[in-house]
């Protein structure tokens, strides 16, 4: 039985700019929004859009991601035919190879795709926070009679040169592609989400592979080649919430936006578009006698005795008496000791911040970084972590890290 469309999710990214957070896990596995990981968004979008077959291309530090995905049951992707499959690079009779680029990753899995004889393939990226209905995207693709469509977002003109831009005519037909140009001719930024007719994609992947000079990348090679050949290429306008969380500050910002769905547009309280995740199974969170909690999101298993303001606490976070947590993202299982002050920062999983320690600071004219503490780190008593610091090893009592 053929599937109309299947999804291929690029999740191999190292996320080197998230350094302390991605030392032991791939970027798509980075926790987000209190109880999710980044990859929950594209996976939930797939299920909510009616796509029941997803290949996840992994390469960098796949352990956490593999375990997290498991058989796909939390996303309802444990199916008899289809479902979710993790696709690491493998060895074949012809030899073995790491995924050389995004296009090569798909090329190496042509046989996986062919098992489902899809008409269309959607290429997704595992490092964006976005709620998107892919079925609407496909409808557009079909209506235009496209062979390739790309989802685009309008970005402010002065930021446009940071993106890959699509220049399109009034009929949304793409006429030109500019990769991070100095002089942008368009403000339609590619979101890195593509729908291809499978026969077209397969042809271009094979040609690209045969070209030894190619970098085997969608943006650098496949899309320019399609353009050169005058293929039917269209730009699909998406105007919902979308955020690339490739840097510490954008990750922090996206988390903060979750706290303000009325203005940011990222509403996780959407009964019709649930974001699924693997749940912690912890009991309800508790808020103590002297605690203060405002403008925050608190997850199961948390225990709060201190003050929490404009922060996101993941499952099982402890905030002891007198501790202050402000503008912070604190990931699962971490403890903020009595009297510790944690501000404007990201604290990864299973971190212990001991009594009286200070992590990060509210931004000032001079310093406006987001302090980051990597997973399983202990910050000793009265230690001080500056607002631009990125800590991935334990800090001793009283020490200072800037």
């Amino acid at each position: 039985m053929a599937k109309e469309m299947i999804a291929m999710l690029l999740a191999g990214g190292q996320g080197s700019r998230l350094y302390a957070l991605t030392q032991k896990l791939a970027k798509p596995a980075v926790p987000f929004g209190g109880k999710y990981r980044i990859i929950d968004f594209p996976l939930s979008n797939c299920v909510n859009s009616g796509i029941d077959t997803v290949g996840i291309l992994t390469q960098y530090q796949p352990l956490v991601l593999n375990e997290y995905i498991g058989n796909g049951q939390p996303w309802d992707l444990d199916r008899l035919y289809g479902g979710v499959h993790v696709l690491p690079p493998y060895q074949s009779a012809k030899g073995s190879d790491w995924y050389k680029g995004t296009a090569n990753a798909i090329y190496q899995n042509i046989s996986f795709i062919e098992r489902y004889q899809p008409q269309y393939v959607i290429i997704l990226s595992g490092d964006q926070i976005c709620k998107q209905d892919y079925s609407d995207f496909l409808k557009f693709h079909k209506e235009k009679g496209a062979e390739f469509s790309v989802a685009v977002m309008e970005v402010p003109w002065d930021e446009a040169s940071r993106f890959g831009l699509m220049v399109a005519d009034e009929n949304d037909k793409i006429t030109e592609f500019q990769e991070k140009p100095k002089n942008p001719k368009s403000n339609l930024a590619s979101m890195g989400i593509y729908i291809f007719n499978w026969d077209v994609l397969k042809k271009y992947l094979e040609e690209d592979e045969a070209n030894p000079k190619s970098s085997n990348d969608f943006g650098n090679d496949i899309i320019p080649n399609l353009l050169k050949d005058g293929r039917e290429m269209y730009a699909y306008h998406f105007n919902g919430y979308w955020k690339d969380v490739g840097t510490i500050s954008s990750l922090w910002e996206a988390n903060m936006e979750v706290l303000d769905p009325e203005h940011s547009g990222i509403n996780l309280f959407d009964e019709d578009w649930k974001i699924y995740s693997r749940n912690s199974g912890m009991t309800g969170h508790r808020i103590g006698e002297d605690a203060k909690v405002i403008d925050s999101m608190i997850t199961d298993g948390c225990r709060i005795e201190g003050s929490v303001k404009r922060s996101i606490l993941f499952a099982g976070v402890k905030v002891e008496k007198g501790a202050v947590v402000e503008d912070a993202v604190v990931m699962g299982g971490s403890t903020i000791g009595a009297g510790a002050v944690v501000k404007h920062c990201i604290v990864a999983e299973n971190v212990v911040i001991e009594e009286g320690a200070k992590v990060g600071a509210a931004p000032t004219e001079k310093e406006k970084g987001v302090a980051t503490v990597g997973s399983n780190v202990t910050i000793g008593k009265n230690a001080k972590i500056g607002p631009n610091a990125m800590v991935s090893e334990s800090v001793k009592e009283g020490e200072k890290v800037c």
């Binding site: 929004g33 209190g34 109880k35 049951q73 939390p74 706290l259 996780l268 309280f269 649930k274 974001i275 699924y276 995740s277 749940n279 199974g281 009991t283 309800g284 969170h285 508790r286 808020i287 103590g288 006698e289 605690a291 909690v293 405002i294 403008d295 925050s296 999101m297 608190i298 997850t299 199961d300 225990r303 996101i312 606490l313 993941f314």
Partner: protein
Amino acid sequence: MLNMNADALGIIFPNSYDTLVPELARERLMASIPFASRYRVVDFMLSSMVNGGIDNVSLIVKQNYHSLMDHLGSGREWDLTRKNGGLNLVPPFSDRETKLYSGRVDALSSMIPFLKRQKEKYVVMTDANIAVNFDFKDLLAKHVESGADVTIAYTNEGLPQDLIDLEADNNSLYYTLKLKEDRVAEIVVNSKDKGIQNLSMNIYVMERTLLIEQISEAYLKGGVYYERDILMNQLDKLDIRGYCFEGYVARLTSLRSYFAESMKLLEEENVEALFGPSTIYTKIRDDNPTRYTNNSKVKRIMAADGCVIEGEVENCILFRGVKIGKGAKVKNCVLMQDTVVEEGAKVEYVITDKSVCISADRALKGTDTFPVYVEKNKRV
């Protein structure tokens, strides 16, 4: 085969003591009463069994079990979706007459062919009226070590007043044990004695073959209750022992006790005692984390995921998806799933069932000994 599991199968009676909490069990059964912000009472026994290596669990249901079926599904959340064993829901079986069972004997008699087919050496039998993190491994080990025929778990405590006050026509029986060392010398039905006693938890272990024998024989003689009609007559013949459970126990004996047991979970030491020993599993709802807005003011609460809190909340248990509007004041309440307290409403000493709505600016107040209960789906 390597066997890391207990050599026992579990049987749970989810309808036992339904009549003690008529309000909460009106549209459901004892086992599916919501408790502790995101659980149903049965989760505790079921998880304890699973954590104790028992992975073949039958629930013999009697009536009002829609909610339980919905909750348990295929048993996946308890890791009970298995090829061998797993979760087994046993509905009433009416080959001879359409009569609902009234005690364990007639309930089990319909299961004898099933029991005969099983391979486990032991049977663990319980009700689902107690929220407890029970160590079944230890119970089984003690049972085997002592060489007893039947072991009964009990707590050493004063009887709950609700039990003492039970009317004679209430068919909920409870048992206290008189012990001679570890041996049970006497089983008393519905004791009215005050003071510390050995109150049975109705958790039993015995060999499967013994249970089959006991039930077959008692059924022929018209026996109904396992304790009254079997054990009490076999105290001399069999080696029946007590196993004192000293962990945390929340026993639901009335609406008032439900309220009190809920409120006890606002003490962190009780939460640790109940949830600390091992994970209690429950159905997943995929709610987002709970959101506190700018105007929220909270103190001493336990809340599950999916709530939105814009008002004032103190001394409350909030289940998944509860919404507290701006300016609302909620104090000493248990609000079950998806309860909405609209703007400016004032609620105190209230238990709301699922999907209740308290309209804007309304006030509703009970007392600590008499909490007001609002039925499922009702609007105040």
